[in-house]
Protein backbone atom coordinates (compact mmCIF):
# COMPACT_ATOMS: atom_id res chain seq x y z
CA UNK A 1 0.00 0.00 0.00
CA UNK A 2 1.35 3.42 -0.86
CA UNK A 3 2.14 5.87 1.91
CA UNK A 4 -0.80 8.11 1.16
CA UNK A 5 -3.36 5.34 0.92
CA UNK A 6 -2.07 3.92 4.15
CA UNK A 7 -2.32 7.30 5.84
CA UNK A 8 -5.89 7.57 4.61
CA UNK A 9 -7.01 4.10 5.62
CA UNK A 10 -5.36 4.38 9.03
CA UNK A 11 -6.89 7.83 9.48
CA UNK A 12 -10.31 6.33 8.77
CA UNK A 13 -9.68 3.51 11.26
CA UNK A 14 -8.73 5.97 13.99
CA UNK A 15 -11.67 8.24 13.16
CA UNK A 16 -13.99 5.24 13.32
CA UNK A 17 -12.58 4.30 16.68
CA UNK A 18 -13.07 7.84 18.00
CA UNK A 19 -16.65 7.96 16.76
CA UNK A 20 -17.62 4.76 18.52
CA UNK A 21 -17.41 6.58 21.80
CA UNK A 22 -20.25 8.92 20.81
CA UNK A 23 -23.06 6.38 21.27
CA UNK A 24 -21.18 4.85 24.25
CA UNK A 25 -21.15 8.20 26.05
CA UNK A 26 -24.33 9.82 24.71
CA UNK A 27 -24.15 12.51 27.41
CA UNK A 28 -21.33 14.11 25.47
CA UNK A 29 -23.43 14.93 22.43
CA UNK A 30 -26.62 15.52 24.39
CA UNK A 31 -25.08 18.17 26.61
CA UNK A 32 -23.31 19.82 23.68
CA UNK A 33 -26.71 20.21 22.04
CA UNK A 34 -28.47 21.29 25.23
CA UNK A 35 -25.81 23.93 25.75
CA UNK A 36 -26.42 25.42 22.32
CA UNK A 37 -30.17 25.27 22.76
CA UNK A 38 -29.81 27.15 26.04
CA UNK A 39 -27.87 29.85 24.24
CA UNK A 40 -30.62 30.11 21.64
CA UNK A 41 -33.32 30.34 24.30
CA UNK A 42 -31.35 32.78 26.46
CA UNK A 43 -30.59 35.20 23.70
CA UNK A 44 -33.69 34.78 21.60
CA UNK A 45 -36.19 35.10 24.42
CA UNK A 46 -34.37 36.96 27.19
CA UNK A 47 -32.39 39.57 25.22
CA UNK A 48 -34.07 39.19 21.85
CA UNK A 49 -36.55 42.00 22.37
CA UNK A 50 -33.99 44.33 23.95
CA UNK A 51 -31.50 44.19 21.10
CA UNK A 52 -32.71 46.13 18.10
CA UNK A 53 -31.16 45.24 14.78
CA UNK A 54 -30.08 48.15 12.62
CA UNK A 55 -31.98 47.81 9.40
CA UNK A 56 -34.61 45.65 11.08
CA UNK A 57 -35.11 41.93 10.73
CA UNK A 58 -35.82 39.08 13.14
CA UNK A 59 -33.36 38.74 16.01
CA UNK A 60 -33.74 34.98 15.99
CA UNK A 61 -32.84 34.78 12.34
CA UNK A 62 -29.89 37.02 13.11
CA UNK A 63 -28.83 34.92 16.09
CA UNK A 64 -28.97 31.39 14.78
CA UNK A 65 -26.12 31.47 12.28
CA UNK A 66 -24.03 32.84 15.16
CA UNK A 67 -25.08 29.94 17.39
CA UNK A 68 -23.99 27.52 14.67
CA UNK A 69 -20.66 29.32 14.51
CA UNK A 70 -20.27 29.05 18.26
CA UNK A 71 -20.73 25.30 17.92
CA UNK A 72 -18.18 25.26 15.11
CA UNK A 73 -15.68 26.92 17.43
CA UNK A 74 -16.43 24.42 20.22
CA UNK A 75 -14.79 21.81 17.97
CA UNK A 76 -11.53 23.11 19.34
CA UNK A 77 -12.53 22.07 22.88
CA UNK A 78 -13.90 18.69 21.81
CA UNK A 79 -10.70 17.85 19.99
CA UNK A 80 -8.42 19.14 22.74
CA UNK A 81 -10.19 16.97 25.30
CA UNK A 82 -10.12 13.88 23.08
CA UNK A 83 -6.45 14.34 22.36
CA UNK A 84 -5.41 14.90 25.98
CA UNK A 85 -7.44 11.92 27.08
CA UNK A 86 -5.72 9.65 24.54
CA UNK A 87 -2.27 10.92 25.51
CA UNK A 88 -2.91 10.51 29.23
CA UNK A 89 -4.43 7.05 28.95
CA UNK A 90 -1.34 5.87 27.09
CA UNK A 91 -3.31 5.17 23.92
CA UNK A 92 -1.28 7.53 21.77
CA UNK A 93 1.89 5.77 22.89
CA UNK A 94 0.28 2.45 22.24
CA UNK A 95 -0.61 3.47 18.70
CA UNK A 96 2.83 4.97 18.19
CA UNK A 97 4.36 1.53 18.67
CA UNK A 98 2.28 0.12 15.79
CA UNK A 99 3.40 0.09 12.15
CA UNK A 100 0.57 2.47 11.28
CA UNK A 101 0.78 5.90 9.65
CA UNK A 102 1.54 8.30 12.47
CA UNK A 103 -0.33 11.13 10.82
CA UNK A 104 -3.48 9.05 11.25
CA UNK A 105 -3.59 9.79 14.99
CA UNK A 106 -3.97 13.50 14.31
CA UNK A 107 -5.90 13.44 11.05
CA UNK A 108 -8.20 10.71 12.38
CA UNK A 109 -8.96 12.89 15.38
CA UNK A 110 -9.67 15.95 13.22
CA UNK A 111 -11.83 13.84 10.91
CA UNK A 112 -13.89 12.18 13.64
CA UNK A 113 -14.52 15.50 15.33
CA UNK A 114 -15.59 16.95 11.99
CA UNK A 115 -18.20 14.22 11.60
CA UNK A 116 -19.30 14.55 15.22
CA UNK A 117 -19.71 18.31 15.02
CA UNK A 118 -21.50 18.03 11.69
CA UNK A 119 -24.03 15.82 13.45
CA UNK A 120 -24.48 18.36 16.23
CA UNK A 121 -24.91 21.14 13.67
CA UNK A 122 -27.63 19.21 11.90
CA UNK A 123 -29.56 18.82 15.15
CA UNK A 124 -29.12 22.54 15.86
CA UNK A 125 -30.31 23.56 12.43
CA UNK A 126 -33.45 21.52 12.85
CA UNK A 127 -34.02 23.19 16.23
CA UNK A 128 -33.36 26.52 14.53
CA UNK A 129 -36.08 25.83 12.01
CA UNK A 130 -38.42 25.17 14.92
CA UNK A 131 -37.86 28.64 16.42
CA UNK A 132 -38.26 30.44 13.12
CA UNK A 133 -34.88 30.51 11.46
CA UNK A 134 -34.97 30.05 7.66
CA UNK A 135 -32.63 29.97 4.71
CA UNK A 136 -34.04 32.56 2.30
CA UNK A 137 -31.74 31.84 -0.61
CA UNK A 138 -31.22 28.63 -2.55
CA UNK A 139 -29.88 25.13 -2.02
CA UNK A 140 -26.48 26.07 -3.41
CA UNK A 141 -26.11 28.93 -0.95
CA UNK A 142 -27.19 26.69 1.87
CA UNK A 143 -24.61 24.08 0.92
CA UNK A 144 -21.92 26.73 0.52
CA UNK A 145 -22.62 27.90 4.07
CA UNK A 146 -22.56 24.35 5.41
CA UNK A 147 -19.28 23.69 3.60
CA UNK A 148 -17.79 26.82 5.08
CA UNK A 149 -18.79 25.71 8.58
CA UNK A 150 -17.15 22.33 8.08
CA UNK A 151 -13.99 23.98 6.79
CA UNK A 152 -13.70 26.14 9.90
CA UNK A 153 -14.60 23.19 12.15
CA UNK A 154 -11.66 21.34 10.66
CA UNK A 155 -9.32 24.26 11.32
CA UNK A 156 -10.63 24.54 14.89
CA UNK A 157 -9.91 20.85 15.47
CA UNK A 158 -6.28 21.42 14.57
CA UNK A 159 -6.10 24.17 17.17
CA UNK A 160 -7.60 21.60 19.51
CA UNK A 161 -4.97 19.04 18.56
CA UNK A 162 -2.27 21.52 19.44
CA UNK A 163 -3.90 22.50 22.74
CA UNK A 164 -4.54 18.87 23.60
CA UNK A 165 -0.91 17.95 23.17
CA UNK A 166 0.25 20.86 25.31
CA UNK A 167 -1.83 20.48 28.44
CA UNK A 168 -1.42 17.99 31.27
CA UNK A 169 -5.05 17.00 31.94
CA UNK A 170 -8.48 16.89 30.36
CA UNK A 171 -9.71 19.60 32.77
CA UNK A 172 -6.99 21.98 31.65
CA UNK A 173 -7.72 21.12 28.02
CA UNK A 174 -11.32 22.12 28.64
CA UNK A 175 -10.35 25.40 30.29
CA UNK A 176 -7.75 26.38 27.73
CA UNK A 177 -10.13 25.50 24.91
CA UNK A 178 -12.82 27.77 26.31
CA UNK A 179 -10.25 30.47 26.99
CA UNK A 180 -9.56 30.39 23.26
CA UNK A 181 -13.11 30.47 22.03
CA UNK A 182 -14.98 32.65 24.54
CA UNK A 183 -13.32 35.94 23.55
CA UNK A 184 -13.63 34.97 19.90
CA UNK A 185 -17.32 34.21 20.10
CA UNK A 186 -18.30 37.08 22.41
CA UNK A 187 -16.25 39.90 20.89
CA UNK A 188 -18.06 39.25 17.66
CA UNK A 189 -21.25 39.88 15.77
CA UNK A 190 -22.81 36.65 17.01
CA UNK A 191 -25.06 37.97 19.76
CA UNK A 192 -25.17 41.70 19.16
CA UNK A 193 -24.67 43.93 16.16
CA UNK A 194 -21.02 45.03 16.27
CA UNK A 195 -21.96 48.71 16.42
CA UNK A 196 -23.13 48.24 20.01
CA UNK A 197 -19.55 47.32 21.03
CA UNK A 198 -17.04 49.94 22.28
CA UNK A 199 -15.41 51.54 19.27
CA UNK A 200 -11.92 50.20 20.00
CA UNK A 201 -13.33 46.65 19.99
CA UNK A 202 -15.17 47.10 16.73
CA UNK A 203 -12.23 46.34 14.41
CA UNK A 204 -11.46 43.25 16.47
CA UNK A 205 -15.05 42.12 16.23
CA UNK A 206 -15.03 42.85 12.55
CA UNK A 207 -11.96 40.78 11.64
CA UNK A 208 -12.50 38.03 14.19
CA UNK A 209 -12.90 34.70 12.35
CA UNK A 210 -16.09 33.98 14.29
CA UNK A 211 -17.62 37.23 13.04
CA UNK A 212 -16.45 36.72 9.51
CA UNK A 213 -17.90 33.23 9.34
CA UNK A 214 -21.15 34.42 10.91
CA UNK A 215 -21.39 37.27 8.42
CA UNK A 216 -20.66 34.85 5.60
CA UNK A 217 -23.49 32.57 6.70
CA UNK A 218 -25.94 35.44 7.11
CA UNK A 219 -25.01 36.72 3.70
CA UNK A 220 -25.25 33.32 2.04
CA UNK A 221 -28.55 32.45 3.69
CA UNK A 222 -30.24 35.84 3.50
CA UNK A 223 -30.42 36.31 7.30
CA UNK A 224 -30.18 39.83 8.84
CA UNK A 225 -26.55 40.93 8.57
CA UNK A 226 -25.89 44.33 10.12
CA UNK A 227 -22.30 45.54 9.84
CA UNK A 228 -20.63 48.67 11.15
CA UNK A 229 -18.29 49.73 8.43
CA UNK A 230 -17.83 48.69 4.91
CA UNK A 231 -14.47 47.06 4.59
CA UNK A 232 -13.06 43.81 3.44
CA UNK A 233 -14.72 41.57 6.07
CA UNK A 234 -18.08 43.17 5.46
CA UNK A 235 -17.82 42.95 1.71
CA UNK A 236 -16.15 39.56 1.26
CA UNK A 237 -16.91 37.49 4.37
CA UNK A 238 -16.76 34.19 2.47
CA UNK A 239 -13.36 34.94 1.05
CA UNK A 240 -11.99 36.16 4.36
CA UNK A 241 -13.33 33.05 6.09
CA UNK A 242 -11.50 30.83 3.64
CA UNK A 243 -8.36 32.92 4.12
CA UNK A 244 -8.66 32.58 7.90
CA UNK A 245 -9.02 28.80 7.57
CA UNK A 246 -5.88 28.60 5.47
CA UNK A 247 -3.95 30.73 7.96
CA UNK A 248 -5.17 28.78 11.00
CA UNK A 249 -4.37 25.45 9.37
CA UNK A 250 -0.98 26.66 8.21
CA UNK A 251 -0.11 27.73 11.75
CA UNK A 252 -1.69 25.10 13.96
CA UNK A 253 -1.32 21.91 11.94
CA UNK A 254 2.50 22.15 11.90
CA UNK A 255 2.49 23.16 15.58
CA UNK A 256 0.41 20.11 16.44
CA UNK A 257 2.62 17.82 14.39
CA UNK A 258 5.70 19.26 16.07
CA UNK A 259 4.31 18.59 19.54
CA UNK A 260 3.42 15.11 18.43
CA UNK A 261 6.99 14.45 17.32
CA UNK A 262 8.25 15.81 20.62
CA UNK A 263 6.46 12.98 22.43
CA UNK A 264 9.51 10.82 21.75
CA UNK A 265 11.93 13.26 23.34
Amino acid sequence: MSGLRRALSDGLLVAGRNLRRVPRIPELAIFAIIQSVIFVLLFAFVFGGAIPLPGGGSYREFLLPGIFVQTVFFACVTTAIGMTDDVNKGLIDRFRSLPMARSALLSGRALSDLVYNAGILIVLMVSGLAVGWRVHTGVLEFLAGAGLMLLVTFAMSWIGVWIGMNVPTVEVANQVGFMFIFPLTFVSNIFVPPETLPSWLQPVAEWNPASVLTAALRQLWGNPNPYVADGLPAEHPVLITVAWTVVLLAVFAPLGVRRFRALSR
Partner: protein
Protein backbone atom coordinates in the same frame (compact mmCIF):
# COMPACT_ATOMS: atom_id res chain seq x y z
CA UNK B 1 21.43 -12.85 14.29
CA UNK B 2 20.66 -10.92 17.44
CA UNK B 3 17.10 -9.69 17.65
CA UNK B 4 17.94 -6.82 19.95
CA UNK B 5 21.24 -5.04 20.37
CA UNK B 6 21.61 -1.98 22.56
CA UNK B 7 24.93 -0.26 23.08
CA UNK B 8 25.61 2.43 25.62
CA UNK B 9 22.04 3.70 25.87
CA UNK B 10 21.77 6.96 27.74
CA UNK B 11 18.53 8.72 28.58
CA UNK B 12 18.10 11.79 30.73
CA UNK B 13 14.71 13.16 31.68
CA UNK B 14 14.33 16.82 32.41
CA UNK B 15 11.71 17.82 34.92
CA UNK B 16 11.03 21.02 36.78
CA UNK B 17 12.85 19.67 39.78
CA UNK B 18 15.99 18.84 37.83
CA UNK B 19 17.27 16.08 35.62
CA UNK B 20 17.13 12.34 36.14
CA UNK B 21 19.61 10.07 34.42
CA UNK B 22 17.35 7.11 33.79
CA UNK B 23 19.77 5.15 31.59
CA UNK B 24 23.48 5.44 32.05
CA UNK B 25 25.22 3.43 29.36
CA UNK B 26 23.02 0.38 29.19
CA UNK B 27 24.17 -2.54 27.00
CA UNK B 28 21.90 -5.38 26.03
CA UNK B 29 21.85 -8.27 23.58
CA UNK B 30 18.90 -10.58 22.99
CA UNK B 31 19.64 -13.45 20.57
CA UNK B 32 16.93 -14.48 18.14
CA UNK B 33 14.45 -16.83 19.81
CA UNK B 34 15.62 -16.05 23.33
CA UNK B 35 13.66 -14.72 26.28
CA UNK B 36 15.53 -12.05 28.17
CA UNK B 37 14.29 -11.08 31.60
CA UNK B 38 15.20 -7.52 32.52
CA UNK B 39 15.18 -7.62 36.29
CA UNK B 40 15.37 -4.55 38.44
CA UNK B 41 13.79 -2.54 41.25
CA UNK B 42 11.53 0.51 40.86
CA UNK B 43 13.17 3.27 38.90
CA UNK B 44 16.01 1.11 37.61
CA UNK B 45 15.29 2.08 34.01
CA UNK B 46 13.35 -0.94 32.74
CA UNK B 47 10.45 0.96 31.24
CA UNK B 48 12.76 3.55 29.73
CA UNK B 49 14.73 0.77 28.03
CA UNK B 50 11.59 -0.84 26.65
CA UNK B 51 10.26 2.49 25.42
CA UNK B 52 13.47 3.23 23.56
CA UNK B 53 13.52 -0.21 21.95
CA UNK B 54 9.85 0.15 20.97
CA UNK B 55 10.65 3.49 19.24
CA UNK B 56 8.54 5.54 21.64
CA UNK B 57 11.50 7.40 23.05
CA UNK B 58 14.73 8.61 21.49
CA UNK B 59 17.92 7.81 23.37
CA UNK B 60 20.18 10.75 24.21
CA UNK B 61 23.21 8.58 23.63
CA UNK B 62 24.15 5.15 22.36
CA UNK B 63 22.35 3.16 19.72
CA UNK B 64 20.01 0.21 19.44
CA UNK B 65 18.84 -2.10 16.69
CA UNK B 66 15.72 -4.22 16.84
CA UNK B 67 15.20 -6.97 14.25
CA UNK B 68 18.20 -5.53 12.44
CA UNK B 69 16.77 -2.01 12.18
CA UNK B 70 17.97 1.08 13.94
CA UNK B 71 15.34 2.24 16.43
CA UNK B 72 15.77 5.89 15.49
CA UNK B 73 16.58 5.89 11.77
CA UNK B 74 14.35 2.94 10.79
CA UNK B 75 11.66 3.23 13.40
CA UNK B 76 8.80 2.21 11.12
CA UNK B 77 10.55 -1.04 10.17
CA UNK B 78 11.10 -1.75 13.86
CA UNK B 79 7.42 -1.19 14.61
CA UNK B 80 6.45 -3.68 11.93
CA UNK B 81 8.29 -6.45 13.77
CA UNK B 82 7.38 -5.77 17.39
CA UNK B 83 4.44 -6.12 19.74
CA UNK B 84 4.47 -3.96 22.85
CA UNK B 85 2.56 -4.27 26.05
CA UNK B 86 3.42 -1.41 28.36
CA UNK B 87 3.56 -1.35 32.13
CA UNK B 88 0.05 0.09 32.36
CA UNK B 89 -2.73 -1.40 30.28
CA UNK B 90 -3.49 0.96 27.40
CA UNK B 91 -6.66 -0.17 25.69
CA UNK B 92 -9.65 1.89 24.63
CA UNK B 93 -12.12 1.91 27.51
CA UNK B 94 -15.02 2.89 25.29
CA UNK B 95 -14.63 -0.01 22.91
CA UNK B 96 -15.46 -3.60 23.63
CA UNK B 97 -12.64 -6.09 24.03
CA UNK B 98 -13.35 -7.47 20.60
CA UNK B 99 -13.42 -4.03 18.99
CA UNK B 100 -10.06 -3.23 20.52
CA UNK B 101 -8.51 -6.38 19.08
CA UNK B 102 -10.05 -5.88 15.64
CA UNK B 103 -8.79 -2.29 15.59
CA UNK B 104 -5.28 -3.43 16.43
CA UNK B 105 -5.47 -6.17 13.83
CA UNK B 106 -6.51 -3.67 11.18
CA UNK B 107 -3.73 -1.29 12.18
CA UNK B 108 -1.33 -4.23 11.89
CA UNK B 109 -2.61 -4.45 8.31
CA UNK B 110 -4.72 -7.58 8.61
CA UNK B 111 -7.75 -7.78 6.36
CA UNK B 112 -11.14 -7.26 7.96
CA UNK B 113 -11.90 -10.98 8.01
CA UNK B 114 -8.46 -11.88 9.33
CA UNK B 115 -8.67 -9.22 12.02
CA UNK B 116 -11.96 -10.67 13.26
CA UNK B 117 -10.68 -14.23 13.17
CA UNK B 118 -7.52 -13.22 15.01
CA UNK B 119 -9.56 -11.34 17.60
CA UNK B 120 -11.71 -14.40 18.31
CA UNK B 121 -8.62 -16.57 18.60
CA UNK B 122 -6.96 -14.21 21.09
CA UNK B 123 -10.11 -13.70 23.14
CA UNK B 124 -10.26 -17.46 23.50
CA UNK B 125 -6.58 -17.75 24.40
CA UNK B 126 -6.84 -15.04 27.07
CA UNK B 127 -10.13 -16.32 28.51
CA UNK B 128 -12.00 -13.19 27.49
CA UNK B 129 -14.57 -14.70 25.14
CA UNK B 130 -17.42 -14.23 27.59
CA UNK B 131 -16.56 -10.55 27.98
CA UNK B 132 -15.77 -9.95 24.31
CA UNK B 133 -18.82 -7.81 23.64
CA UNK B 134 -18.53 -5.79 26.83
CA UNK B 135 -17.11 -2.30 26.94
CA UNK B 136 -13.63 -2.40 28.47
CA UNK B 137 -14.69 0.15 31.09
CA UNK B 138 -16.51 -2.73 32.77
CA UNK B 139 -13.43 -4.98 32.85
CA UNK B 140 -11.47 -5.74 36.00
CA UNK B 141 -7.83 -4.72 36.18
CA UNK B 142 -6.61 -8.20 35.34
CA UNK B 143 -8.97 -8.47 32.38
CA UNK B 144 -7.68 -5.18 30.98
CA UNK B 145 -4.16 -6.40 31.44
CA UNK B 146 -4.95 -9.59 29.52
CA UNK B 147 -6.64 -7.66 26.74
CA UNK B 148 -3.64 -5.37 26.54
CA UNK B 149 -1.35 -8.37 26.14
CA UNK B 150 -3.65 -9.87 23.55
CA UNK B 151 -3.49 -6.60 21.59
CA UNK B 152 0.30 -6.87 21.54
CA UNK B 153 -0.02 -10.29 19.92
CA UNK B 154 -2.53 -9.42 17.19
CA UNK B 155 0.13 -8.88 14.53
CA UNK B 156 1.97 -12.13 15.41
CA UNK B 157 5.13 -10.10 16.00
CA UNK B 158 8.57 -11.72 15.83
CA UNK B 159 9.57 -9.70 18.83
CA UNK B 160 7.62 -9.09 22.00
CA UNK B 161 8.34 -6.34 24.50
CA UNK B 162 6.45 -6.92 27.72
CA UNK B 163 6.83 -4.43 30.54
CA UNK B 164 5.91 -6.15 33.80
CA UNK B 165 3.36 -8.33 32.03
CA UNK B 166 2.05 -10.15 35.07
CA UNK B 167 1.65 -7.24 37.46
CA UNK B 168 -1.93 -7.28 38.66
CA UNK B 169 -2.72 -10.78 37.46
CA UNK B 170 -3.97 -13.51 39.76
CA UNK B 171 -1.86 -16.68 39.92
CA UNK B 172 -4.03 -18.52 37.42
CA UNK B 173 -3.94 -15.74 34.85
CA UNK B 174 -0.24 -15.40 35.45
CA UNK B 175 0.40 -19.04 34.69
CA UNK B 176 -1.85 -18.84 31.66
CA UNK B 177 0.10 -15.85 30.42
CA UNK B 178 3.39 -17.62 30.98
CA UNK B 179 2.04 -20.44 28.81
CA UNK B 180 1.07 -18.01 26.07
CA UNK B 181 4.54 -16.49 26.13
CA UNK B 182 6.21 -19.91 26.01
CA UNK B 183 3.96 -20.81 23.12
CA UNK B 184 5.01 -17.71 21.21
CA UNK B 185 8.64 -18.55 21.87
CA UNK B 186 8.14 -22.09 20.54
CA UNK B 187 6.87 -20.52 17.38
CA UNK B 188 10.09 -18.58 17.04
CA UNK B 189 9.35 -15.28 18.76
CA UNK B 190 11.94 -13.39 20.75
CA UNK B 191 10.81 -11.88 24.03
CA UNK B 192 12.16 -9.12 26.21
CA UNK B 193 10.24 -8.87 29.44
CA UNK B 194 10.80 -6.76 32.50
CA UNK B 195 9.97 -7.92 35.95
CA UNK B 196 10.66 -7.25 39.59
CA UNK B 197 10.35 -10.92 40.43
CA UNK B 198 13.28 -13.25 40.21
CA UNK B 199 10.80 -16.09 40.20
CA UNK B 200 9.17 -14.83 37.01
CA UNK B 201 12.46 -14.29 35.24
CA UNK B 202 13.42 -17.78 36.37
CA UNK B 203 10.22 -19.33 35.02
CA UNK B 204 10.37 -17.72 31.60
CA UNK B 205 13.70 -16.31 30.69
CA UNK B 206 16.57 -18.07 28.98
CA UNK B 207 18.79 -15.35 30.36
CA UNK B 208 18.48 -12.55 32.86
CA UNK B 209 19.97 -9.09 32.94
CA UNK B 210 19.88 -7.27 36.24
CA UNK B 211 19.52 -3.53 35.86
CA UNK B 212 20.16 -0.92 38.53
CA UNK B 213 20.47 2.85 38.19
CA UNK B 214 20.34 2.64 34.42
CA UNK B 215 23.06 0.09 33.83
CA UNK B 216 23.27 -3.68 33.69
CA UNK B 217 25.01 -4.90 36.82
CA UNK B 218 24.83 -8.64 36.14
CA UNK B 219 23.78 -11.01 33.41
CA UNK B 220 23.55 -14.73 32.93
CA UNK B 221 21.13 -17.62 33.05
CA UNK B 222 18.86 -17.97 36.02
CA UNK B 223 21.02 -20.81 37.33
CA UNK B 224 24.20 -18.79 36.98
CA UNK B 225 22.68 -15.90 38.87
CA UNK B 226 21.31 -18.14 41.56
CA UNK B 227 24.65 -19.84 41.96
CA UNK B 228 26.19 -16.42 42.27
CA UNK B 229 23.80 -15.35 44.97
CA UNK B 230 23.86 -18.67 46.75
CA UNK B 231 20.50 -20.26 45.98
CA UNK B 232 17.86 -20.57 48.66
CA UNK B 233 17.75 -18.69 51.94
CA UNK B 234 17.02 -19.71 55.48
CA UNK B 235 14.91 -17.22 57.35
CA UNK B 236 14.19 -17.31 61.07
CA UNK B 237 12.19 -14.96 63.23
CA UNK B 238 13.16 -15.14 66.88
CA UNK B 239 10.58 -14.56 69.57
CA UNK B 240 12.64 -12.46 71.95
CA UNK B 241 14.59 -9.47 70.54
CA UNK B 242 17.21 -10.00 73.21
CA UNK B 243 18.04 -13.38 71.66
CA UNK B 244 18.94 -11.85 68.29
CA UNK B 245 22.72 -11.58 68.75
CA UNK B 246 23.00 -15.14 69.99
CA UNK B 247 20.80 -16.46 67.16
CA UNK B 248 22.83 -14.50 64.65
CA UNK B 249 25.99 -16.13 65.88
CA UNK B 250 24.51 -19.57 65.35
CA UNK B 251 23.13 -18.82 61.90
CA UNK B 252 26.22 -17.01 60.71
CA UNK B 253 28.49 -19.87 61.76
CA UNK B 254 29.29 -20.83 58.22
CA UNK B 255 27.39 -18.20 56.28
CA UNK B 256 30.26 -15.75 56.50
CA UNK B 257 29.36 -12.10 55.93
CA UNK B 258 26.20 -12.81 54.05
CA UNK B 259 23.93 -12.69 57.06
CA UNK B 260 21.16 -10.13 57.23
CA UNK B 261 19.53 -9.09 60.46
CA UNK B 262 16.37 -7.06 60.59
CA UNK B 263 16.09 -5.86 64.19
CA UNK B 264 12.56 -4.54 63.98
CA UNK B 265 11.16 -7.73 62.45
CA UNK B 266 13.51 -9.87 64.63
CA UNK B 267 14.43 -11.65 61.41
CA UNK B 268 17.70 -13.22 60.32
CA UNK B 269 18.37 -14.37 56.76
CA UNK B 270 21.32 -16.48 55.62
CA UNK B 271 22.08 -18.41 52.44
CA UNK B 272 20.99 -22.04 52.75
CA UNK B 273 24.15 -23.75 51.64
CA UNK B 274 23.22 -27.38 52.06
CA UNK B 275 19.47 -26.78 51.95
CA UNK B 276 17.26 -28.78 54.29
CA UNK B 277 20.15 -30.45 56.06
CA UNK B 278 21.60 -27.13 57.01
CA UNK B 279 18.19 -25.91 58.13
CA UNK B 280 17.80 -28.89 60.44
CA UNK B 281 21.25 -28.32 61.86
CA UNK B 282 20.42 -24.70 62.60
CA UNK B 283 17.14 -25.68 64.25
CA UNK B 284 18.94 -28.17 66.51
CA UNK B 285 21.55 -25.56 67.46
CA UNK B 286 18.90 -22.94 68.20
CA UNK B 287 16.98 -25.43 70.33
CA UNK B 288 20.14 -26.35 72.23
CA UNK B 289 20.64 -22.63 72.92
CA UNK B 290 17.00 -22.40 74.09
CA UNK B 291 16.11 -19.67 71.61
CA UNK B 292 12.37 -19.56 70.92
CA UNK B 293 11.28 -18.99 67.32
CA UNK B 294 8.14 -17.40 65.86
CA UNK B 295 8.81 -18.50 62.33
CA UNK B 296 11.32 -20.41 60.30
CA UNK B 297 11.62 -21.48 56.70
CA UNK B 298 13.51 -22.09 53.51
CA UNK B 299 12.70 -19.65 50.75
CA UNK B 300 13.81 -18.86 47.23
CA UNK B 301 16.09 -15.90 46.68
CA UNK B 302 14.29 -12.66 45.87
CA UNK B 303 15.32 -9.56 44.02
CA UNK B 304 16.49 -8.19 47.34
CA UNK B 305 18.90 -11.08 47.79
CA UNK B 306 20.24 -10.52 44.27
CA UNK B 307 20.88 -6.90 45.01
CA UNK B 308 22.40 -7.47 48.37
CA UNK B 309 24.85 -9.89 46.87
CA UNK B 310 25.63 -7.94 43.72
CA UNK B 311 25.74 -4.41 45.04
CA UNK B 312 25.99 -4.70 48.77
CA UNK B 313 22.81 -2.70 49.17
CA UNK B 314 19.21 -3.75 49.18
CA UNK B 315 17.03 -3.15 46.14
CA UNK B 316 16.09 0.40 46.94
CA UNK B 317 13.66 2.56 45.11
CA UNK B 318 15.79 4.16 42.44
CA UNK B 319 12.83 6.26 41.41
CA UNK B 320 14.25 9.41 42.88
CA UNK B 321 11.08 11.41 42.66
CA UNK B 322 10.97 15.16 42.18
CA UNK B 323 13.24 16.99 44.56
CA UNK B 324 14.91 13.93 46.01
CA UNK B 325 17.85 14.40 43.64
CA UNK B 326 20.14 11.66 42.47
CA UNK B 327 21.15 9.68 45.48
CA UNK B 328 23.84 8.01 43.42
CA UNK B 329 25.37 11.32 42.44
CA UNK B 330 24.31 11.06 38.82
CA UNK B 331 24.83 13.97 36.48
CA UNK B 332 22.84 17.00 37.63
Amino acid sequence: MDAVVAEGLVKTYTTRAGTVRALDGLDLVVPEGAVLGLLGPNGAGKTTTVRILATLLRPDGGRATVAGHDVVAEAQAVRASIGLSGQYAAVDENLTGEENLVLFGRLYRLSKADAHARARELLEQFALTAAARRVVKTYSGGMRRRLDLACALTGRPRLLFLDEPTTGLDPRSRNALWDVIRDRVRQGATVLLTTQYLEEADALATSIAVVDHGTIIARGTADELKAQIGGERIEVVVHDPAALPRAREILARDAGDDCRVDDRARRIVVPAHGGVLRLMQILRDLEAAAIALDDVGLRRPTLDDVFLTLTGHAAEDGGNGAGAGNADGGAP
